[in-house]
């Protein structure tokens, strides 16, 4: 497929936003059961959720560039019964709304304790909203992944690994950002987030590698023979019916060399997994927040490459019909 930059930015940006919100909310839920110190509502939880919201909004803006008719975008919420895209269109504003409410409640201290257990664990109103937000966030990951995994003849995508990768890569980038963010606003959480970031990064590395290996060994179901219905091992296209190109030649192929594809694969593997981890731990050891932020920036650039590759790697069966100009 041709990687559309709007979609590359949409999926990576909302991934960061979702991951960062999950990180902030994890911090708060650990503190509710007193496994972590409680942080400043405004500085950490409120601001953190607001930054997450910023990424979600940026993603939404990027998505608008993908639509031919963005003014009609509201219609896209109507077919949630059958379309994962429609479900995403509902889940994204839901996440944004809940993250916004969560942030506002922290800013203004609207945080009544609903319930205190005998052990001292508190159930606060923000926790309830945060839990709803986390559920919506997971639903959004599912929708985003299923948009791709549900197209069965894009065989590179049609696997549960697609959903798992969206979930893990998004969460990973959000946690990497949370480390840097915590180092500025809540230094006692840095270690906690760093451990989680490492665990999620390793998990994401394993599942992404698994999908790369799977895709290396794919057997395509469609062939020239099934596309034309002609039983002969030698079929050559002589003309695709036009010479100046069409949507079919522009939208479904990346137009890059095999070498470029190979290189970008290795670049993203390095930029997404080992290098950010290295910078993050270096930053933590030297106590330098900027180095931790650099880790996030490198990882985000790596994720752009990863997403580009994800789209470019998918081989659409329609390409069988568009092989020769003539």
């Amino acid at each position: 497929m041709h990687p559309a930059f709007s979609v590359v930015f949409l999926t990576t940006l909302i991934g960061v936003g979702q991951g960062l919100f999950l990180a902030v909310f994890t911090g708060q839920s650990y503190s509710a059961v007193e496994l972590l110190p409680t942080e400043d509502s405004v500085m950490f939880y409120g601001t953190g959720a607001m930054i997450a919201l910023g990424f979600l909004v940026a993603g939404l803006i990027a998505s608008v560039f993908h639509l031919g008719r963005p003014e009609r975008a509201w219609r896209a919420a109507t077919r949630w019964r059958t379309s994962w895209l429609s479900r995403e269109v509902i889940a994204l504003p839901a996440v944004m709304g809940l993250v916004f409410i969560y942030a506002i409640m922290h800013y203004f201290g609207w945080d009544t304790v609903i319930f205190t257990s005998s052990t001292g664990a508190r159930l606060q109103a923000t926790l309830v909203v945060g839990t709803l937000g986390a559920v919506a966030t997971f639903a959004l990951f599912l929708c985003t992944g299923m948009i791709y995994a549900a197209v069965k003849f894009l065989q590179e995508w049609a696997t549960p690994l697609t959903v798992i990768n969206y979930l893990l890569l998004g969460t990973m980038s959000g946690f990497t950002l949370a480390v840097a963010f915590a180092s500025y606003t809540a230094p006692d959480l840095v270690g906690f987030f760093a451990v989680w970031t490492t665990i999620i990064t390793v998990a994401a590395f394993i599942t992404r590698m698994a999908s790369l290996i799977r895709n290396n060994n794919i057997k395509y179901k469609s062939s020239m023979q099934t596309a034309l219905g002609i039983r002969h091992s030698q079929i050559q296209q002589k003309s695709m019916g036009f010479m100046g190109g069409s949507v079919n030649t522009r939208d479904f192929f990346h137009h890059k060399t095999l070498m470029f594809m190979k290189n970008i694969k290795w670049i993203f593997i390095l930029l997404v997994f080992p290098i950010p981890l290295f910078f993050m731990w270096m930053g933590i050891n030297s106590g330098n927040s900027n180095v931790m932020l650099t880790a996030f920036i490198i990882q985000y650039i790596g994720l752009l490459a990863e997403r580009w590759f994800f789209f470019a790697q998918a081989n659409h069966p329609q390409n069988l019909y568009y092989q020769t100009v003539g």
């Binding site: 896209a76 197209v151 079919n248």
Partner: protein, 243 residues
């Protein structure tokens, strides 16, 4: 239930592109608005088409065969392009099975074009909505047209009658008979889309000549075992006379 569709006879198609041009002409002049056409006489013309004719070479020289292959929306019975549409702009009509796009609802997200394995949905780069073959739905029921013309423009245009049109659910229709009797098949059956349009394969017309036909078994001369006289030695009349 009715399922209108085309049957394309690859044995007959000569690759003249008459269906391509008549399709574009009819559909770009219709009430649904123009189909974009950039640089039509320039270096790299590009635009939206509902129908394309492609050419393939089958086999290795000298045993090759040229196959012209018209391709448009197949109006699948189980169209994967419909459920994925987030707006409901992409839909399949209950009454005649035609798959259509509502240009007033489409947001141009291109998801349906990803979900069609045949690559027959083309976004209009100017109107920014998804377009595809409508089976000339605006001709089929138009009572102001003479009855013989109430069929797709491509079918009307084809000089070799390689395109048949009709209801593939009616077992006695011309198209059903053609599919049944001439080996009609569907494209990419592996995806379970159940295309309504069918293709008729190339068919070889072979002349079988049996030895019997070269030498009649019931030749009376053979039967009576009469031999021809042995050739005469020396000059015969033919050698000396010219007629």
């Amino acid at each position: 239930m009715t399922q209108l569709a085309l049957v394309i006879d690859l044995n007959v198609c000569v690759g003249c592109h008459a269906c391509v041009t008549s399709c574009k002409e009819w559909n770009t002049s219709g009430p649904a608005g123009t189909m974009c056409d950039d640089n039509p006489y320039g270096e790299s013309p590009t635009g939206t088409f509902f129908n394309r004719v492609q050419t393939y070479e089958v086999g290795v020289f000298p045993n090759t065969e040229t196959v012209h292959f018209p391709k448009s929306c197949l109006h699948c019975e189980d169209p994967p392009c419909v459920p994925v549409c987030p707006t409901g702009a992409s839909y399949k009509r209950e009454n005649d099975g035609i798959v259509l796009v509502d240009y007033d609802k489409c947001i141009g997200c291109r998801y349906c074009s990803w979900a069609c394995p045949y690559g027959v949905r083309e976004i209009d780069e100017h109107e920014k909505v998804m377009k595809k073959c409508t089976l000339c739905v605006d001709r089929l029921y138009d009572e102001s047209l003479p009855e013989a013309e109430r069929k797709p423009a491509c079918v009307m245009a084809c000089p070799t009658s390689a395109r048949l049109y009709g209801d593939v659910h009616d077992p006695e229709s011309e198209v059903s008979v053609a599919i049944r009797e001439n080996g009609g098949y569907a494209l990419m059956p592996e995806w379970g889309t159940k295309p309504s349009n069918h293709y008729l394969p190339r068919r070889k017309t072979r002349l079988h000549i049996h030895e019997d036909e070269l030498q009649r078994a019931d030749n009376p001369l053979t039967k009576e075992q009469r031999e021809h006289a042995a050739p005469v030695e020396g000059p015969i009349l033919d050698d000396t006379t010219s007629w």
